[in-house]
């Protein structure tokens, strides 16, 4: 029992040490958690994941296609925006362990109905 506890401390401690919010997670990323923190934290547990980390599973041009908008809103595609094209790194808008909002919202009252804070 004690051994298991120590092991748990080491594993969980490694994750939680990063931030008090580390408990928050996205349900749809369950399988990533099953594979361990380092699946995303490719630069070590004390650093933010690299900007390429999310792109191991997600493809930017596919995301751009998925969030494509028409006509008046065509330039408001957050994954292919007028300001940053497809270059905005995921973590500028998305947070895994804490709520964030799209950087577009710094200046615009856009409606992104599918965005999960």
């Amino acid at each position: 029992m004690k051994k298991i506890n120590t092991l748990l401390v080491l594993i969980l401690g490694g994750c939680i040490a990063l931030s008090a919010q580390a408990r928050d997670k996205r349900d749809y990323h369950e399988m990533v958690y099953d594979s361990g923190c380092k699946t995303c934290h490719d630069q070590g547990m004390k650093a933010f994941p690299s900007d390429n980390s999310c792109l191991q599973c997600h493809d930017m041009s596919e995301l751009a296609e998925q969030t494509k908008r028409e006509g008046h809103e065509a330039r408001q595609n957050p994954h292919d925006s007028m300001h940053y094209g497809q270059e905005a790194p995921c973590m500028e808008c998305h947070g895994e362990h804490k709520p964030k909002q799209a950087i577009c919202m710094d200046c615009h009252n856009f409606d992104f109905p599918k965005f999960k804070q």
């Binding site: 506890n5 748990l8 401390v9 969980l12 401690g13 939680i16 040490a17 990063l18 008090a20 630069q43 004390k46 650093a47 933010f48 900007d51 008046h72 330039r75 007028m82 300001h83 940053y84 094209g85 270059e87 905005a88 790194p89 973590m91 500028e92 950087i103 919202m105 710094d106 200046c107 615009h108 009252n109 856009f110």
Partner: protein, 500 residues
């Protein structure tokens, strides 16, 4: 049994150890361990930084690096309205507009109220047609319509089709990369590294920096062979810094700048003894809306409509300013619109829909609740709770001014509103200034060299361009006049470094 509390303790301990390393090296040391070396170092990826990179690439520089603090390129430059004042262009000639670099300088000197640098303005205005062509060569596409910005005696604000600085930034970024320029996000400039004699050798950078997490990433030392260009923009987003300089600019007044406009470059140059100039001259944008963040869509709407629309005080139902006066005049008057308790009571910009709809910004402001449509004067008066009779009289008066071409109330130049009567339906946007531009900064000369406070001479190896430099515009900057200046001095810095 381990409790959650002890997990957290363990976590705090680990975080503390993390904060101690990596150890920072001290500046002013000649025994620096260099992690990287480049021919030219550019800090900041806005107009000034990118123009410098493109020009240096054109001049044959082989190893240029741009460090950008944020996760995205372009800084504040990518957020503006995409306007640039150039005098004497082919587009002006095509549209029958007579203009000259001298006239542009005269307008800017007037707005600068005796504090602007004629030498720097002249240098920038004369480079205008070169910059106009350089941006077109990069792939920037201009509209056929030239914008009339406040305080000018000729219509000269050329605008890219995106109606955003992004229309400059993205083609210029692409062009810079085509010259092999290395562009790096999440690299925060920490400080300059100087030799004992004051020459700038390089910079310290925080690689892997995430904005808002000051200890993120790791410190590296980067050596510059030819020079360091600081093109980090202004400090409009640094509330404590700007409020120390101008007590009126607390958090009540918003800010149009990118989040990164915190003055890092300026503060680091001050630390190395550079000459501060006009730091208190901070400009607020009179076209901003309190109904959205940042620059938003409202700015574009009001910029298009100010020449043929009126701004109304909600207490009186009357105009209170020349809607095309320079920015300081208008912003100062707007921020005085208050209710009886002294709380902000933003003025109303009332535009005729028949004209407003000619610009694509109308659809944006209506869709995102930054402006609203009303089909009568009564409806406006009721919605915004202002004296109906007064408002009606004001609109009637205004339409007489449109007819005669004279504005006896505020002396507005009326040739932009010829035949455009203010009739229903109306589009109404609220106006409240936002901090927009820091005229002040570090003193440079016409070679974009940074001047030392102690000697009045340049600091070898150090260049600055764009909003971080000061003294160019004086008390108030005219609309569309930063973009060409940022680019002109970026280009100049590149030329100077290639000669160094």
């Amino acid at each position: 049994m381990q409790t959650r509390r002890s997990f957290l303790k363990f976590g705090a301990g680990a975080a503390a150890i993390g904060a101690l390393s990596p150890l920072s090296v001290s500046a002013n040391s000649s025994n620096i361990k260099w992690d990287e070396e480049h021919e030219i170092i550019i800090v900041g990826s806005g107009f000034a930084g990118l123009a410098a990179a493109v020009e240096a690439g054109k001049l044959g520089a082989k190893d240029i690096v741009i460090f950008e603090k944020l996760g995205v390129y372009g800084g504040n430059s990518t957020l503006n309205a995409g306007q640039a004042c150039f005098a004497n262009t082919d587009l002006q000639k095509k549209l029958g507009i007579e203009d000259s670099a001298e006239l542009m300088v005269q307008d800017q000197l007037k707005s600068g109220r005796g504090y602007a640098s004629e030498q720097l303005l002249k240098h920038s205005a004369e480079l205008g047609p070169y910059i106009y062509q350089l941006t077109k060569d990069c792939g920037c596409v201009y509209r056929d319509h030239i914008i009339n910005t406040g305080g000018t005696s000729a219509t000269r604000s050329h605008q890219v089709v995106e109606r955003s600085g992004a229309g400059f930034i993205r083609p210029m970024l692409k062009t810079a990369r085509s010259y092999g320029v290395k562009t790096k996000i999440r690299h925060k400039f920490e400080h300059l590294i100087t030799a004992k004699d004051g020459k700038v050798l390089g910079i310290q950078v925080r690689r892997g920096y995430h904005f808002g997490h000051e200890d993120s990433g790791e410190l590296i030392n980067v050596k510059a062979e030819k020079g360091v260009l600081i093109a980090t923009g202004g400090f409009g987003a640094n509330v404590s810094f700007r409020q120390a300089l101008d007590p009126n600019l607390g958090s009540e007044v918003g800010c149009t700048n990118a989040r990164g406009a915190t003055g890092d470059g300026l503060i680091a140059m001050l630390a190395e003894g550079a000459m501060p100039i006009h730091l208190s001259f901070i400009q607020s944008g009179p076209w901003a809306s309190p109904d959205e963040g940042g620059f938003g869509y409202g700015a574009g709407f009001s910029l298009y409509n100010f020449p043929h629309s009126i701004a109304i005080d909600r207490n009186t139902g009357r105009r209170f300013m020349n809607e095309t006066a320079d920015r300081k005049t208008r912003a100062d008057l707007e921020v005085q619109r208050r209710d009886k308790d002294g709380n902000p009571n933003p003025a109303l910009l009332i535009a005729p829909k028949h004209e407003a709809q000619k610009d694509p910004s109308m659809a944006n402001v209506l869709k995102y609740n930054v402006a609203w449509e009303f089909d009568s004067v009564e409806a406006i008066a009721k919605h915004f709770d202002l004296p109906k009779k007064e408002l009606k009289a004001q609109i009637d008066d205004w339409n007489k001014y449109v007819k005669t071409g004279e504005d006896p109330q505020f002396g507005k130049r009326m040739n932009m509103s010829t035949g455009i009567y203010l009739t229903a339906p109306f589009i109404v946007q609220r106006l409240w200034p936002k901090v927009h531009y820091c005229q002040g900064g570090i003193q440079i000369n016409a070679k974009a060299e940074v001047i030392a406070a102690k000697t009045g001479k340049n600091i070898p190896g150090l260049y600055a361009a764009g909003e971080v430099s000061g003294g160019v515009h004086g008390v108030s900057r005219l609309g569309g006049c930063s973009t060409p200046e940022c680019m002109a001095f970026g280009v100049t810095a590149a030329r100077s470094m290639m000669k160094a």
